[in-house]
């Protein structure tokens, strides 16, 4: 990953060191995990043999999900290497945190992964709570779980629509947006915002659930379950969909772990790792759900895993709504939040993977340093090894399947 | 009732013969001029793609001339094979070999005056031969049965009712030639065999 240079794409040749030597020794095959070797001998020369074409995909491109710029080195249509250029959406969120009080910074996190703003808020609030050594009330925890899981469904729905659109199936997009709308309505009724919800506060939730909240959520559950089946009818057994996604963008479990990939991408490679089970936060330890995993780690598996995750989320929400306890929604938190000196790392399972907050407190009202571990940013590293040797069309599919949000990548 | 309408009215509606030639000398001159002019463009354009486009025009006008000669099948073959097949091949190749350089280079080789004069001599010879042998070419033009043209060509190529046609073997050999050409082209263009 490198900063945007704005230069001619031909000049990228010197960005990466050459690793051409030893390439002809078949016995010692090397795999360049996550590295980039966009080197070629003479950029001005075009041989028919090796007409390596450098194509600049993005930052303005319909399939890069925002302002991602991918520089592709192609042999014909075969991808020889990629280089991601990021930072077009950099807003300095982490730096802003150092100049805001803990409470003031809370809305900012919603702007990172704007597709799953609730998860971001949850992670931040829990991190600060851990730093303060307070715990949210049980009711608040349940509300948090419900909203977060709803948001997970919404995020996956948005992913499914755009991903399918990238592969050429335009209809699922509208289906998923139709159903996502119901979730957004619940959000709106709960906290007044649809996208950047700012639903939680440090120590609990600010708002009590509105009248009929449970009923609406239950209605939503019965409403959306058949809809998920509907998406699957369109895609799961569709031959073209299978041909486009099976064995495309394969990443092995070892590679995924080596690159720090988390979330559905990791689980599709067969690693049963979900922070909700591994280190339960909020009220997750009280619910019964499963972690869907894939086997091949290809695009199709990632699709299936996310579909299954949506269903699991429904299960969690159902249990939570049925057993939501009564009580206060805010724990006792000082008016002015001044955490003790110390540092804390807290991570949650956001729809895209492990979302972690590392906060260093110097005892003042503002964090001394705040660092976010964004799942999209880490997962994006896997792009290169996933698309090597595939075709241009697969690059689009793979970018879609990693499920990145540039707001989170660039922060 | 004006004459034009009248002629339209009478012009062979219900005339089952339908063989009255649509072709008029104007068509001939137009197509011939188009063919020759675009042929000239083929050999003079600096940009090879322009040459290829001009060649397509030539080929299509020659196809038109075939139609005038009651050879619709040959015209169809001309369009399919030449315009649709060979010229696409040419365009592909032109895109593969970069032409930016050739656009800036000399178009003609150093012996172009010799070549031009030789070709001129050839044309003179042709014209002279036509003039001298005028009598050899009868003015009449046979009227060929257009509607059964395809069937007759098929009969000559494949034979009829169990008999082998006069060109059947030649046809088979031509197919072999094509096969060889395909294989040769594939082998030559493959990077690594």
């Amino acid at each position: 990953m490198s900063a945007p240079t704005g230069e001619d794409t031909k000049n990228i040749s010197h960005l990466a060191p050459s690793n051409r030597e030893n390439s002809d020794q078949g016995e010692t095959e090397r795999k360049n995990v996550g590295g980039n070797d966009l080197t070629f001998e003479n950029p001005d020369k075009t041989y028919l043999d090796s007409n390596e074409l450098i194509i600049n995909m993005g930052p303005q491109h319909p399939a890069t999900h925002g302002v991602l710029r991918v520089i592709l080195k192609l042999d014909g249509e075969k991808v020889l290497g990629t280089e991601c250029v990021i930072g077009y959406l950099h807003r300095g969120v982490e730096k802003i945190a150092e100049n805001r009080t803990y409470t003031m910074f809370n809305p900012y996190v919603d702007r990172m992964d704007y597709v799953a703003a609730v998860s971001n808020g949850l992670g931040y609030c829990e991190a600060v709570e851990k730093l303060l050594n307070v715990e949210a009330t049980p009711r608040a925890k349940y509300i948090r779980v419900i909203l977060t899981e709803l948001n997970r469904i919404a995020s996956h729905q948005l992913w499914l629509g755009t991903h399918a659109l990238d592969i050429g199936a335009m209809t699922p997009l509208f289906y998923t947006f139709r159903d996502r709308e119901e979730i957004l309505k619940i959000f709106e009724k709960y906290c007044g915002a649809r996208l950047t919800t700012h639903a939680f506060r440090i120590g609990g939730c600010q708002y009590e659930t509105y009248a009929g909240f449970e009923k609406e959520v239950k209605n939503f559950l019965t409403f959306v379950a058949p809809k998920i089946d509907e998406y699957e009818t369109l895609l799961t057994t569709n031959r073209i969909w299978m041909e486009r996604t099976k064995n495309v963008g394969v990443i092995s479990a070892a590679d995924a772990i080596a690159l720090g990939v988390t979330g559905p991408v990791l689980r599709a490679s067969g690693v049963k790792w979900d922070l909700r089970k591994a280190q339960p936060y909020a009220a997750y330890s009280e619910f019964d759900f499963e972690i869907p995993v894939g086997t091949n780690g290809d695009t199709y598996d990632r699709y299936l895993v996310r579909m299954a995750e949506m269903r699991q989320s429904l299960r969690i929400i159902e249990q939570a709504v049925n057993s939501i306890p009564e009580g206060p929604i805010m724990a006792k938190v000082p008016k002015v939040i001044k955490p003790p000196v110390g540092e804390i790392y807290h991570s949650i399972e956001s729809p895209k993977g492990e979302l972690g907050y590392f906060i260093v407190s110097d005892g003042s009202t503002q964090p001394y340093r705040l660092r976010v571990r964004p799942p999209s940013f880490v997962n994006l590293q896997a792009l290169d090894i996933m698309v090597r040797g595939l075709l241009v069309a697969d690059v689009v599919a793979v970018i879609g399947t990693i499920d990145i949000v540039l707001g989170e990548v660039d922060r | 009732m004006n004459p034009a309408m009248n002629s339209a009215l009478n012009s062979g509606l219900n005339s089952t013969a339908g063989m009255a030639p649509v072709a008029t000398p104007y068509f001939f001159y137009g197509l011939a001029a188009l063919a020759v002019v675009s042929g000239f463009l083929v050999i003079t354009r600096r940009n090879v793609v322009h040459s290829a486009l001009a060649l397509i025009v030539t080929l299509l006008s020659v196809a038109g001339l075939y139609l005038m000669l009651y050879a619709p099948f040959v015209a169809g073959v001309q369009i399919i094979v030449y315009a649709g097949g060979i010229m696409v091949l040419f365009l592909f190749v032109i895109m593969l070999v970069n032409i930016e350089r050739s656009v800036k280079e000399r178009r003609f080789n150093s012996m172009w005056p010799v070549g031009l004069s030789a070709a001129g001599a050839l044309f003179t010879l042709f014209v002279f031969a036509f003039a001298k042998g005028r009598a050899l070419f009868p003015d009449r033009m046979m009227s060929l049965p257009e509607s059964s043209n395809t069937q007759q060509i098929a009969t000559m190529l494949y034979g009829d009712a169990g008999k082998i046609g006069p060109y059947t073997f030649a046809f088979e050999i031509a197919s072999l030639l094509l096969l060889v050409a395909i294989l040769g082209a594939v082998i030559m263009t493959k990077k690594k065999i």
Binding site: G168, L391 | A8, G12, V49, I79
Partner: protein, 438 residues
């Protein structure tokens, strides 16, 4: 003078309607010209309405409404689009090859429209009946590739070049399977007493008439397989979903016409839709009996003829009814007043056409060669032909709404490794069966 016209007009029209051959065959340049004009205008209108229909149908597939603002239910949308495209600045990139960039869309358009000269909307409802009709059609439609290649090259840019190479490779590849499927249909035309087949489009439909069977059902399932091969190949041939590699927007932005804008871009669109209609017409002609109405064998006789001749009118009546239902469903708000009036007028127009058609059907039910009966017959031919084509158009839209896009290598694999062997096998088996039957 008016008197003369009054006498002359029926004669003149009758002179045409009475003809059993196409104007081209008859050598009637005048009627041929008229035909060319009608077809050009008709295809243009068809493309425009197709544009509207596609947007509406696709929208309803996707649980949305589609164009609703320009005219009632967006009926005037295509006109607005056309105006917009014509008024837009026609940008030619400075690095592009000016002349070739300019001429490329024209090549595609020319190829797409030239094909219509031999499409038989009825036994005499075609510009000309060439005896190499299908050959000519395949040849000319293959010229469309040139426009694509040249457009991609002239843009002097990466995406268009890749798009052009993709789509031309695709079109050239699928032409092979398509041609072989067509040959197996042509082979079926030779199953008569004389044993001679025909390449003429009209001849092919006539052969189906004589054999009393649509070729899709001939030698079941051989005809069906050949038809399916053709139906798949024709989608690829026209670069439509799921084979729309060339303009795969998520990968190549817009393929070979990325750099085009305004009118020149709309010419590409026009060519694409015209080509869609053209290949559908070929399919209809070769396998679906062309202008023949359904159940010619099964349900014959004057009464059945009459019942079937009511279909055009009833169809328009149905459309008018839909329009009026639409009027009724509009909200009772003054904002919708003009919309209501517009839709009512449209419905009225449809209803009027329906009425006219019904009148003609009833008036022309006799067998005598009156204007009415000839008119009735012609309308029947054209109606059935267009209805079959319309089914294909709907299928095109349906595919686009349902399927993801193939990848390029998969597409080529389907073309060369699946369709080509199948079509070859069908051709060989058809030949063997044909010999056995004869």
């Amino acid at each position: 003078m008016p008197n003369m016209i009054a006498i002359w007009m029926p004669n003149f029209i009758m002179s045409y309607l009475g003809s059993t051959v196409t104007p081209g065959e008859a050598g009637s340049q005048f009627w041929a010209l008229i035909y060319v004009l009608i077809i050009f205008a008709g295809v243009s209108v068809a493309v425009m309405s197709m544009n509207w229909l596609e947007r509406k149908a696709l929208a309803h597939f996707q649980i949305r409404l589609g164009p609703m603002r320009v005219g009632p239910h967006g009926l005037l949308q295509p006109i607005a689009d056309a105006l917009k495209l014509m008024l837009k600045e026609d940008i030619i990139p400075s690095e592009a090859d000016q002349f070739v960039f300019w001429v490329a869309p024209l090549i595609g358009l020319l190829a797409a429209f030239t094909v219509y000269t031999v499409i038989p909307f009825g036994p005499s409802q075609a510009v000309s009946d060439m005896n190499i009709g299908i050959l000519f059609m395949l040849g000319v439609s293959s010229l469309g590739v040139l426009g694509v290649v040249v457009a991609g090259w002239a843009s002097n840019s990466h995406y268009p070049l890749i798009g052009a190479l993709r789509s031309s490779a695709q079109m050239v590849s699928y032409e092979v399977a398509m041609g072989l499927a067509v040959v197996s249909a042509i082979l079926m035309t030779s199953l008569n007493e004389k044993g001679t087949g025909t390449l003429s489009m009209i001849g092919i439909v006539r052969a189906q008439e004589q054999q009393g069977i649509w070729f899709i059902f001939k030698f079941f399932p051989l005809g069906l397989i050949a038809f399916i091969v053709f139906a798949i190949a024709m989608i690829a041939e026209t670069n439509r979903a799921p084979f729309d590699m060339a303009e795969a927007e998520s990968e190549l932005t817009a393929g070979y016409h990325t750099e085009y804008s305004g009118l020149r871009w709309s010419l590409f669109m026009l060519a694409e839709y015209a080509a869609m209609i053209a290949v559908s017409s070929i399919a209809v002609t070769l396998w679906l009996g062309g202008w023949m109405r359904p159940f010619v064998r099964l349900l014959h006789g004057p009464s059945w003829d009459f019942i079937f001749s009511l279909f055009p009118g009833l169809t328009f009546l149905g459309l008018a009814a839909i329009a009026f239902v639409g009027v009724l469903r509009m909200p009772a708000h003054s904002f919708f007043k003009i919309q209501k009036i517009g839709l009512e007028a449209f419905g009225g127009l449809l209803g009027f056409i329906a009425l006219m058609l019904l009148v003609i059907a009833i008036a022309g039910r006799s067998q005598d060669p009156s204007i009415g009966s000839r008119l009735n017959e012609s309308i029947g031919y054209i109606y059935w032909f267009l209805l079959k084509v319309a089914v294909f158009m709907y299928l095109f839209i349906w595919y686009r709404a349902t399927w993801p896009r193939y990848r390029f290598d998969q597409l080529m694999r389907v073309g060369w490794k699946v369709l080509l062997p199948i079509s070859l096998a069908v051709l060989i088996v058809t030949a063997i069966v044909g010999v056995l039957v004869a």
